[in-house]
Chain length 233, copies 2
């Protein structure tokens, strides 16, 4: 596959299923990839390690980890000392905003991506948001993404100089987890590299019971595929 080094994309990479599949899609479309991960809150070690391995696997041009200091602001089980909920009903997971929701997280992540896009002259920012399995998250909805894109195109030098258009790419937004996994496998993703759990054990085993583990397991089950993640239960 030919990579066009003039066709640069930023990919937001958490190290989970969705962002890794998004990376594979961006790569498949021939972009030279600049991946961006964020260190925030308590449980970043395994995610960041997964993100780094995935960045290497996909031969990105550059992988940057930003220390996004969300603990100063608080308000989430993922950044504060609030307990991560376990073994919730799947119907509740997909409709309610959970305590693991991080306020304005995608806005902060996309803002950094926009800054980097302006520096490297990239016009495409890929984010693996999904409005199907995470319908409770305000910043995963198409209307939010469209509003961010509109704002982004007024925020930069390029907007003033009217030379380029920044596109926020959300290839997974209307896909189910099972569809995402099947597409990723077609594109050569090894999901053993990915990390989804909100609350892993000290040796990196997934809890198997948090919302993220439950959605992952359901995705593999619905796809009729074996989940390569290492679970405690």
């Amino acid at each position: 596959m030919l990579i066009d080094n003039e066709k640069k994309a930023i990919v937001l990479l958490s190290g989970g299923i969705d962002s890794t599949t998004t990376m594979a899609i961006a790569k498949d479309r021939g972009f030279a990839i600049y991946s961006l991960s964020f260190s925030y809150g308590q449980r970043h070690a395994y995610e960041l390690k997964a993100a780094e391995s995935i960045a290497n696997y996909f031969k990105v041009v550059k992988h940057v980890v930003i220390n996004a200091d969300l603990r100063g602001i608080g308000g989430s089980a993922l950044t504060d000392n609030i307990e991560v909920p376990k073994a919730r009903d799947e119907r509740i997971i997909s409709t309610e905003i959970p305590v693991t929701y991080v306020p304005a997280r995608n806005t902060i992540f996309l803002a950094y991506a926009l800054a980097w896009a302006e520096v490297i002259k990239s016009t495409h920012i890929f984010i693996g948001v999904n409005a199907v399995d995470y319908s409770g998250y305000p910043d995963c909805r198409p209307e939010y993404i469209e509003a961010f894109e509109r704002m982004a195109n007024l925020a930069t030098r390029a907007a003033i100089e009217k030379k380029t258009y920044i596109s926020i790419e959300t290839p997974l937004i209307n896909m189910s987890k099972a569809q995402i996994i099947k597409l990723g496998i077609e594109l050569g993703v090894d999901y053993a590299m990915t990390h989804s759990c909100y609350d892993p054990s000290p040796d990196g085993f997934a809890c198997g019971l948090c919302d993220s583990c439950l959605l992952r397991k359901k995705g593999f089950r619905d796809a009729g595929l074996k989940d390569p993640a290492r679970y405690q239960v």
Copy 2:
């Protein structure tokens, strides 16, 4: 003056003239103030010290400093080792985008403010952007601020639950530097506390020649007032 503790505002506070005057305006309107500063790039020490003094002076409820790691992304004289331009013509300062422009800076700052606003249930975010003296900055224009506000109202729990509206307040956007200074003095601002210089000496004296110093000096001159800043030249 009565402070309504239910009426909370986030104020983005750099420690310069504009953000300090914005703080005074928010205070004058009776808001309980939550001030937010950012540590980024090389020259944060004097700015952050000024911001902290100003936060104390205005008796804010809480002052938070976020480590916004912009050096990983680069692209500005304020975060990279690019020379800060000196003694430029004032007409050029007010129309060109300078090398001191930090890509997507206001978008990143407002994104953090939005996150904090959601956590503390504040509906007002004050930012001291100015489209007169900084017309070269894309993210200081009214159309940018409006687009950010629109996006913000789709980004949060409140947007989903339809209970509140987030307002981005830009009281200085159409004011000249001289008008800003006069208003601040009416509201009790002591501008000796503020720091404007992009390139201060190790002992904290302003260079007197960078764009920010030149705009500050011109502002005091046009207002017919003495600038209390300590200058090297």
